[in-house]
Amino acid sequence: MKLKLSTRRAIWAYAFLLVPLLFFLLVRIYPTLQSFQLSLSTWHVDPLQREFVGLDYYERMLNDGRLHQAFRNTLYYALLGVPALIIIGLTVAMLLHGLKNPFGRGLFRAIYFAPYVTPAVAVSWAWSLMLSPQLGIVNEILFSLGLPTQPFLNSPDTALATVTGVVVWQYLGFQVILFLVGLEGIPRQYYEAAAIDGANGWSRFRFITLPLLRPVLVLSIIIATASNSTGFLQLFTQVLNLNFSDPGGPLGSTLTIVLYMYQVAFNRFEFGYAAAITVVLFLIIMVITIFQWTFLNKRVDY
């Protein structure tokens, strides 16, 4: 039997795709299903002693004030952090894109990217030292200039915004690189033609840069919102380490869903409840990502 060339190609393609697919199923999908299973019973080292509790843990979530606070905070983080990352990231990328000197461009790129490759724990430690209310360098400077000092991480009013600021500072470089790649993919002719037609800077940005950058923008937004290492919906490491002696504090004002889940799991060994929280977080992230993907991802061609 002889297969058509196109069929043979397709078989090969699927054969190669099978490996990552299997990996994905085993490493991503299976644990997700497993955590759903975990969330239906109490946790015990001995599987025979795990008691089936049905949806009890999901019901408990309805009355868990700290969890609600964590959900609210996580939402604020995303609403505050994602636009900040995108707007500042794009602005910086456009400034760098406009730099003619290749050395300067490389240098600035490296400077912006450096925090991204620095471990989040180290970044958090350094910032928590600098932002310390009494003897931290930032307040020392404010104080010596006669300006009012700030509580930063030590007040429930400012802590969440401060954490967001640190995270934006850290992940900005990654967004800048994404945008730079996107900007470099836009053909110069469009801008030249627009300039001849008398379009000003804003029009060029509004009608050329922004629409053609759309695929990158969508990717950026999704990564900034939901990615497991840098997404605001899964924020954890920085929150834990910026206020190490009161993780999620003060007064729970910086607590995130993932940090709360971690506390439930490893401080209380309640893996059933922790798994239930994971399942809900997974669903939320899935819905938001699908939403972003469908509504933002319209292709534009000129």
Binding site: T42, Q134, S155, G249, F266, F269, F271
Partner: protein
């Protein structure tokens, strides 16, 4: 020649190994230099006495330790004997991470008699789940050099004197800003214990009911105690939380000579002794008025047996033997010397040499009146008390109201635990 000897020795070793059944057990604890060294030393002695048992010693960074245990034990690997903070026991026991100590090796009546009363916290129902080598209490640490400079002769004995002394030490440099503070205020350090087990009791309320099922501090005395504590910051201005930057804030600030006094545990002895560039002193915690009630917070790390040890008779036997050894009088004598934690057996505590040790004496004196809070969710209950303080300090909430919220939150935790 050397090679031949080595080969012979190896052969002999292999033969011996094959003829006597060797049991290998594993001990886990978190990274703490003096504890690692001491356990290594104890293992060496134990193996010499029990050639048929081998003990593997593994340690993990403090932050990663519960995670490692959480995942390794259900998978059937990990430790046979595991070190845990006493406040973690209820959660660990409920999830099956530790098993009751076998009665043939650990008779509950004998333990109750030989160990100090605080060790009751290692018991759930009628069973002991673990035993400690050392126990700790709190004391007031002070910078003797600063005291000398200011002409302060004695460490404060009452809280009133404590505030006076602290005010003398404190140096302000603008509204709410300090360059030096009298007391290292740290609600997230040891102070939440001080409020719970020292101030509440001294102001006239016990924090919990005798059976540990109910929160009993939500009353006038409790509110007065919390207000008294928060007044240290707001009214008497003897310090402020997070004064010194960094993770070890109040202790680092004390070491840096920027904090005149702090309340810290005996576990800080090694660090302070090795790093302080000044003379320091240690005193028992102050009381409300002369001759008034003394109180303290006691705590301990302990060693428990896991289901892995219980699954196999030889391992259980070996693990029990090892546990007996590291909680023996002999081990405790080594422990107090090397780690600085006080012996958990009454017989060793009576050693007159201990009472003569200037550094250990105040901690030792506190043991008879120290309470080990029965935590069902140590981290959660800590947050409750920390939040009670922060609501007053950061949001200006009335102490009585703040305490009421705390009592409600903590009661929920207790209820959740006792229901199951």
């Amino acid at each position: 020649m050397k090679k031949v000897l080595l080969a012979l020795a190896t052969a002999a070793f292999v033969l011996v190994g094959a003829s006597t059944a060797q049991t290998t057990i594993t001990y886990w604890q978190y990274d703490f230099e003096s504890k690692i060294k001491t356990i290594d030393r104890l293992i060496e002695e134990f193996e010499a006495q029990n050639p048929d048992i081998q003990v593997e010693h593994e340690t993990f960074p403090y932050e990663a330790f519960p995670q490692q245990v959480a995942t390794a034990v259900p998978a059937g690997d990990g430790p046979d004997v595991v070190n845990l903070f006493y406040g973690w026991l209820p959660a660990w026991q409920q999830a099956g991470y530790v098993v009751p100590l076998p009665e043939e090796h650990f008779d509950p009546a004998t333990i109750a008699e030989e160990f100090i009363p605080m060790v009751d916290a290692a018991k759930i129902g009628d069973d002991y789940y673990a035993l400690p080598t050392g126990v700790r209490s709190l004391a007031l640490w002070y910078n003797q050099d600063i005291f000398n400079d200011l002409g302060i002769e004695n460490p404060p004995a009452t809280w009133e004197e404590f505030i006076e002394v602290a005010q003398e030490i404190t140096v302000k440099r603008g509204e709410g800003r300090y360059s030096m503070i009298g007391y290292g205020v740290a609600p997230d350090g040891q102070d939440h214990h001080v409020i719970r087990e020292v101030l509440f009791r001294q102001f006239g309320t016990s924090p919990y009911s005798d059976d540990n099922t109910e929160v009993t501090y939500d009353n006038e005395a409790g509110a007065e105690a919390l207000e008294f504590y928060t007044d240290w910051v707001t009214e008497y201005e003897i310090g402020t939380p997070d004064f010194f930057p960094g993770r070890g804030n109040y202790r680092d600030g004390f070491l840096a000579g920027r904090i005149g006094m702090m309340i810290d545990g005996s576990f800080a002895i090694a660090q302070i002794r090795d790093n302080a560039q000044f003379e320091f002193g240690i005193a028992e915690l102050p009381v409300l008025e002369e001759g008034g009630e003394q109180s303290n917070f006691g705590s301990f790390w302990m060693h428990g047996l896991t289901p892995r040890a219980a699954a196999d008779e030889a391992r259980l036997e070996a693990s029990a033997k090892f546990l007996q050894f590291i909680t023996s009088e002999e081990a405790m004598r080594i422990w107090v010397e090397e780690v600085g934690e006080l012996p958990a057996r009454a017989s060793v505590l009576d050693d007159p040499e201990l009472a003569e040790d200037e550094i250990l004496a105040p901690f030792l004196a506190a043991l008879p009146y120290a309470h080990a809070t029965f935590f069902v969710d140590e981290a959660g209950q800590r947050t409750v008390m920390l939040d009670a303080v922060n609501r007053v300090l950061l949001e200006g909430v009335d102490p009585a109201e703040s305490l009421e919220i705390a009592a409600r939150e903590e009661q929920q935790m207790l209820d959740a635990f006792w229901q199951e």
